[in-house]
Symmetry: C2
Subunit: 505 residues, 2 copies
Amino acid sequence: MRKWRYERSNSLRNKRSTFRAGQLPLDALLIDRDSPEPIQRQLYAALRDLILRRVLTPGLKLPSTRELSKRIMVSRNTVVRAYEQLDSEGYVETRQGSNTCVADLPLSPSSAIDDDSGKQTGHLSNFGHAFDSLELPQFSVLHTALRPSTPDVASFPFKTWNRLLGGNLLRQNFDLFNYNYPTGYPQLKKAIASYLQAYRGVRCEAHQILITNGAQSGLDLLSRVLLDRGDTVWMEEPGYDNARVLFSAAGAHIKPLHVTSSGWDLDRVPDGDIRLIYSTPSCQAPLGLTMRMEQRLRLLEIAHRKGAWIIEDDFDSEYRLTGASIPAMQGNDSFGRTIYIGTFAKTLFPAIRIGFVVLPRSIEPSVNRAAFYCGHQVSLPLQATLSDFIMSGHFARHLRRTRRLYAQRREVFLELSRDLLGEWMEPFEADVGIQVAFRFKRSFNDAAIARRANELNLNVVPLSRYCHFSDPIRGLVFGYAALDESSMRTHLSTLVEIIRASEGA
Amino acid sequence: MRKWRYERSNSLRNKRSTFRAGQLPLDALLIDRDSPEPIQRQLYAALRDLILRRVLTPGLKLPSTRELSKRIMVSRNTVVRAYEQLDSEGYVETRQGSNTCVADLPLSPSSAIDDDSGKQTGHLSNFGHAFDSLELPQFSVLHTALRPSTPDVASFPFKTWNRLLGGNLLRQNFDLFNYNYPTGYPQLKKAIASYLQAYRGVRCEAHQILITNGAQSGLDLLSRVLLDRGDTVWMEEPGYDNARVLFSAAGAHIKPLHVTSSGWDLDRVPDGDIRLIYSTPSCQAPLGLTMRMEQRLRLLEIAHRKGAWIIEDDFDSEYRLTGASIPAMQGNDSFGRTIYIGTFAKTLFPAIRIGFVVLPRSIEPSVNRAAFYCGHQVSLPLQATLSDFIMSGHFARHLRRTRRLYAQRREVFLELSRDLLGEWMEPFEADVGIQVAFRFKRSFNDAAIARRANELNLNVVPLSRYCHFSDPIRGLVFGYAALDESSMRTHLSTLVEIIRASEGA
């Protein structure tokens, strides 16, 4: 350190002779004594700017600390510390017992055009460009209206949650605050495992569970760990668009697994290798249909034969109109090919951002390592709170409560929509999920209608958005779970006007 | 739906004649009335298993609901609902007004070998294999000992934090609980922007800030958005290993930017394109050195000339022994090439998992879109709490408190280590960060010593881990911030014994 600095000072000394000494502008050093910013820092900043703007030229000798402190009326110590900081950052150079000189810095970029707005200054990766054509969704904060996958946040027991959270924070188990548990908080993994066994028929042990920042980040992780560019993904059509976006961004070829009201078309299996099958068997996204057992077993058999992974995205199967929820396909898989993805976005609230993945034992280590190095970890106090919430029975209670509530609301919504929309639309025969998909009876431009509806903050999603191959289904997906009857009526009436108008057009 | 089911029943009817009717084993249907599981669900599960195990053969006619309810002494409704669920999942088929028959399912995989443990049943991507050689770090939960980048969690004001968090939860602003603010909670972005301007000399507006799940996930996102396989990354050597892992996993060629106690070697710029430069100028990882202004400006100029991005990882610059922290390099970049990464892991606590990225305007939209589709969102109530914490001055107060504390502890630690380790090791001349790097004065196998030390839970990191090119530096990195003098003494004494032993060996 010393040596190097000494050499630079040398080179500086040779230069110095040639300098026309600049003048130190004291006005620029006026100190604002009312400012919250420490005087030392104000002084340091002012001097730094003068140096960067070349008002103080390289080699210029600064006033001694005593002199400056007198002239700007601050304590000498303040000046000393300001000089020290300038020195340690290389703006000035102080030699033993000698005075302080402005360092010889290359011309500062600050003197270049100071504006990078808009213009692309550099290259992005293929992945970085994969999303160019997409919009960042604009969520209307004020009211969720008919937005799909929107639970009734108001019925979440925040008091209870808050009490549990506070407990975890104040109990001060420091293991909750430091770097720990890269794959997830052990108690939470246990809690989820037993929930999945009891309620979802998933066969797993706690160690197979990886906690993720919501289902989407789990899906992203899997797409990276499982897919190379050019791999084939067999994906439901219509199918979950955000999954599709990720697979495309990973460079996969997507082949359609057609889903109609009569089920999943498993007769047209794509030729050649299939690396990954993406499916939502318990509550098809977006139609809400349930895959019958016969088809589940056939799908597993196909995956086995093709050496393909199955991602079973169980995003919204807890809420079933007719009582108990439908067990996961994972529970029927003895080949260890099914990777189960779950989330608490629908059962608790979306912004909690906690999801999980159930990994086949064979890839548990690989996925866990990848997750760690990609920074897929969820705030530990939050994880601990969720595990308390499940363990102490609050989760089951909340599920029961909301099941009843949503079942009622679903019936009301279906009845209302029959009355109001019946002339143009009919629902798909589904009894699960916190949204319902409707198809148009006659040909309508669902995208156009949705656009118009969303200008009025109805937040509906056109079915065609989930379709990427020939003749998309035309319809709309509605959320109902957060709505009472009167708001349902209001929103649906608005929608009717829009549809009428589009007929007139 | 109807139609399809009707056809299947047909095909079934033809088969039926050929079946030798199985016998319904009533003992398998014994109901445990003490079980918390609803009787309906027990009955459903028992029947399902019999069907999957082919004890009940396809086409077998089940007893009528009235008959079965009598024979197993449960209400008829219970049987009806159990049958309904079996029907809706396709295990049985009920025709109008007629009886209920076991469906014709393909042989269940459950009858295959039911064990996928260990054996690799499928293919992983290149990325999925990128981490094969790495260990998932084992954190010792009980004590952090000398682990680097470990703040003093005990001094975090959990009561205050808890109060703010509770406020956010109970105030019930539903915008905090639904899908919202994909790039981060607006108030938090504002709070971070003004903090960065005032304390870190970063030039940014709130909209340039993207909230991430900790710095590592931000780094991961950037490596994906910026790097294609085969791109060149110029990275500090020694340098932050977890960043290196990500760049390698992205398929990048890594060229060394050598760092010694005399600074960053910017004279040997790699030939050809450089896509990305990774640097930690304010507190070099792991040496703790600070890049002098002259070198910062040169580095920016090189990036400009080469059309490279710079990732400035400002992971730990808030804690500086000598007062104010060193401004970020980003503040000197007028080319819009510097992407600044920050974290609250050191200033609050590691397990909070909140970090952020400051994006040049030119790539703001692309990175934000990628972040959204990759599920990079942090729990909103948590974000709101952090913004309250910053806005109401608690963050600044906590920084001041911990700055004083760590400055004292650092001095104590350096003094102790001089006394105890001085014979073998010397610290790098650094005055920033919550860890210190020491080099061995004579040749020692730092990895072996670290291994031995960590068997005794000292949690030290060998300097050679940060080196990937010729002749690595040999030394150890220690965290000190969470330790009082006596525990420092204990840990260092243990370490001394280990070093002595390795000398003897």
